[in-house]
């Protein structure tokens, strides 16, 4: 079983749960299972094209999936994945 850690502000969409578990064998599968179980999360994690929002970072263990195979990164079981926001903005 693989698990994904939800950041505190997004736990309003998971009934307060900070951890979600799934048997999915890739990051994409795990994220798909997560948003299927908690539909309210979808628009905050993904844009209208279905791509991960640019400020949402996903780590497998201590590694950013951008340094791995992106959302295609394989999960071998008992892997801990984290969703970590990189909040950004600015005047222009």
């Amino acid at each position: 079983m693989n698990s994904i850690i939800i950041p505190t502000p997004l736990r309003k969409f998971t009934g307060g749960a900070g951890l979600f578990e799934s048997t999915a064998d890739s990051v994409k599968g795990l994220l798909d299972d997560l948003v299927s179980a908690h539909e309210g999360l979808r628009q905050h994690l993904f844009d209208n094209d279905g791509d991960l929002r640019s400020f949402i970072r996903v780590y497998v263990g201590d590694e950013d999936i951008h340094e791995l195979d992106g959302t295609a990164t394989a999960l071998t079981g008992n892997t801990e994945v984290s969703i970590i926001p990189a909040i950004a903005g600015g005047i222009a």
Partner: protein, 185 residues
């Protein structure tokens, strides 16, 4: 049930602190009249203001930690972080994922929650921009400080707080603070 008014307990609404800045942001936002107020202690307000002035003409930023109760959120701690936007920090702010993790862990140790962030808008109104919207999370309070550099020294002229709703629209929430340090103790 009766509840003491915010003013009666020393809490005063913030907003314009001086002259309004001339420039406007692209995003107008709306006021969420039913939302509970956000209270920030005098010390937290001073930390946010000094951070905004130190960062001027760039954008300063940080996390807000506190407690969320039936009368609304009370921010007890502000954690300043580096603006990771690099050369763009005159018009952008970026909070690193590592700093977010540190803030969450710090909050957990202190029995608090990460309830919001703050950032400054140099020479712009304290209103969320389109860029703020793109990089925002719901259920966080977004305190924006307008830093005005038109005088002899920069000053914070407006402090307002916003929350992104589940439809990804920013609404303003009432922001209360103490006018003097003694009221916070």
């Amino acid at each position: 049930m009766t509840t003491a008014s915010p003013q009666a307990s020393g809490w005063s609404p913030l907003g314009h602190l001086g002259k309004p800045t001339g420039a406007h942001s692209a995003h107008s936002g709306k006021f969420h009249k039913d939302a509970l107020p956000l209270r920030v202690s005098f010390d937290v307000l001073e930390t946010m203001k000094s951070n905004s002035l130190a960062a001027y003409p760039g954008e300063g930023c940080g996390f807000l930690l506190g407690t969320d109760g039936p009368e609304g959120r009370v921010i007890r701690q502000a954690i300043e972080v580096d603006n990771a936007a690099g050369e763009d920090q005159l018009r952008r702010f970026q909070m690193s994922p590592l700093d977010f993790l540190k803030a969450e862990r710090s909050a957990a140790r202190e029995g608090l929650e990460v309830l919001g962030i703050f950032h400054s808008h140099p020479d712009h109104r304290a209103i969320p921009s389109t860029h703020d919207l793109h990089g925002a999370l719901p259920h966080l309070s977004y305190v924006i400080l307008a830093a005005d550099g038109s005088g002899s020294a920069p000053e914070v002229v407006e402090v307002r707080s916003w929350q992104l709703d589940t439809e990804r629209i920013f609404s303003e929430e009432t922001l209360l603070s103490h006018r003097t340090p003694s009221q916070s103790h």
